[in-house]
């Protein structure tokens, strides 16, 4: 009989991905409410320190698999290994944070067991003893409650930022080593070294005021008016992905899942609709202002102050006001 919650822990460059602790926190909360024990699984080679770090959380057992074929992440290696672990441990629920790595292998893992991955959820609730998950659809314009259909194990991932990893309860977990069967034949992906394209010249994570520009700016030359506002406020200028894809601003000014994650005192979003990938990079900001012509834009879901209107009229007016304030 399937029982318990198994949390997948991710790491790179000798560090636990902080986002994995968000899944641990979610598991602690769900486990407490449903009377299920929480355990965690971590793969790699020479990962003793990482295991010890995870074992300091309130978790019953940290399972660890040391195997040379798991030294570097591959979708095939991780899928085969985690499937074997699930078959050994028979968890009811496998919880993950919806990182790029999880997106890469978790749908394959779930499919190999003829299950769905309920991916990218933002919250959960329990109704009549059943777990129901909430996720965004239509890029955050609507939300949906989803449930797994069929027998356990069920596979669920939560969007980055849905739970507070720093609120994990601490404890002392037992550590158990498990083994899996892997060989060169099953791992078809051959990864090379990870690298960064452009050296991040701008560290936006330290900025206390950020003005950010999105697709609503329409043309590269129009960015100037947003830059003027940033200068008047003494703020850093950043952008959503489409702006950097178009090379209207350099990649190192991109906010979002593929760019930098920031939490300034003020985040002023100009012409940014608020796709999920952008929101995860800035929703921790203390005060969020959004200027957008579409009153339904998802950015308003998380904005403290909203201005529905034409940015080409509002931004210059704000710049003038900011200049006044400086004097």
């Amino acid at each position: 009989m399937a029982n318990g919650i198994l949390v997948f822990i991710e790491h790179a460059d000798g560090k636990i991905n902080r986002a994995s602790y968000e899944a641990v926190r979610a598991a602690q909360l769900i486990g407490a409410q449903t009377g299920q024990e929480v355990s965690a699984i971590i793969f790699g080679e020479g990962i003793g320190d990482l295991v010890a770090e995870v074992a300091a959380k309130k978790i019953k057992t940290v399972y660890t698999v040391e195997n040379k074929w798991l030294r570097s992440y591959t979708a095939d290696g991780y899928t085969h290994a985690l499937r074997q672990i699930i078959e050994q441990l028979q968890p009811a629920l496998v919880l993950m944070t919806h990182t790029y790595e999880v997106r890469d292998f978790a749908p394959k893992l779930a499919a190999s067991l003829k299950r769905a991955l309920l991916g990218d959820n933002i919250s959960y609730k329990i109704e009549e003893g059943n777990l129901i998950f909430a996720r965004q659809i239509f890029q955050g314009k609507l939300a949906a409650d989803v449930v797994p259909v069929g027998d356990a194990p069920h596979f669920v991932s939560f969007q980055i930022g849905s739970f507070r990893g720093d609120e994990c309860e601490t404890g002392q977990a037992e550590v158990k080593a498990l083994t899996v069967n892997l060989d060169a034949d099953v791992i078809r992906q051959h990864p090379e070294e990870r690298f960064k394209e452009a050296r991040a010249a701008v560290d936006l994570t330290q900025a206390s005021l950020i003005v950010s520009v999105g697709r609503g700016i329409k043309e590269q030359k129009n960015i100037e008016i947003v830059k003027k506002l940033a200068d008047a406020l003494g703020a850093e200028l950043s952008a959503s992905r489409p702006i950097c894809d178009n090379e209207w601003l350099p990649m190192d000014r991109q906010i979002g899942s593929s760019g930098q994650t920031v939490a300034p005192k003020l985040y002023l979003a100009v012409g940014i609709s608020g796709a999920i990938q952008h929101l995860v990079g800035m929703k921790g900001s203390r005060t969020i202002v959004a200027i957008n012509k579409d009153p339904e834009a998802p950015i308003f879901e998380i904005a403290d102050y909203g201005i529905v209107g034409d940015l080409f009229e509002i931004v210059p007016a704000l710049t003038a006001e900011a200049e006044k304030l400086k004097q």
Partner: protein
Amino acid sequence: MKIIVCLKQVPKNDSILRINEQGNWIQDRDLTYEINESDAYGLEAALQLKEKHGGEVIALSLGPPRVQTVIKEALARGADRGLHLEDTVFDGLDAFGIASVIAAAAKAEGFDLLLTGLQSDDYGFAQTGVIAAELLGLPHATIVMDVESKEGTIRVKRELESGFFQWVSMPAPAVLTIQSGINTLRYATLKGIMAAKKKEIKKLDAAAVGVDQASLAPKMAFRRVYLPQKSKQTQFIEGTPAEIASKLMDKLKNEARVF
């Protein structure tokens, strides 16, 4: 090189969405549609690979008759032929079901590369390509920025988090999910549109695809669709631009105390 590219038709990005009476999806009347954004980049990647290596690009779409519009658009941009997977049993399938149908059709067709966008703009599951790879027993890579092909090996540049990238190689045939913005989309030319009229669009229903009906059984369900609950109470500021500017600056200074 034979490339199948999957194109999903989704409501236009700026559509006003209304929830249906059952409260489990949107009303689909009065909507206008377009090619799912990242799928359009998948098509462009396929066309560029064909220009470099020769071969054939097949545009595949699953859905009601209206999805022929995206297949025709792909043919006009340079795809060689179309595959339209249409059957009422395909309505409302989850990611596993859709991937099962696509995998069966792709297997029957044969290919070197199967491309999808990295996620759809409606469901946003980001799973169809990966599940199809598993069902086909093939290697895959997700969030692909660049594709190289050499002597049966596919080498792709993957996007990782926090500004990292990684090249990964794997044997063909393989399944790749393509990131938006990796290339410059071409438009259909008048010549392309004329040429597309002569190109074949093959229609396949569930029986013709040969998909195992059991694999279409739902593995997840939408209970309810609703407007997002606000995590914050947004204060909307109204007035002329000058009034808005003055009110906002005042609030930022005296209420939010950011200055």
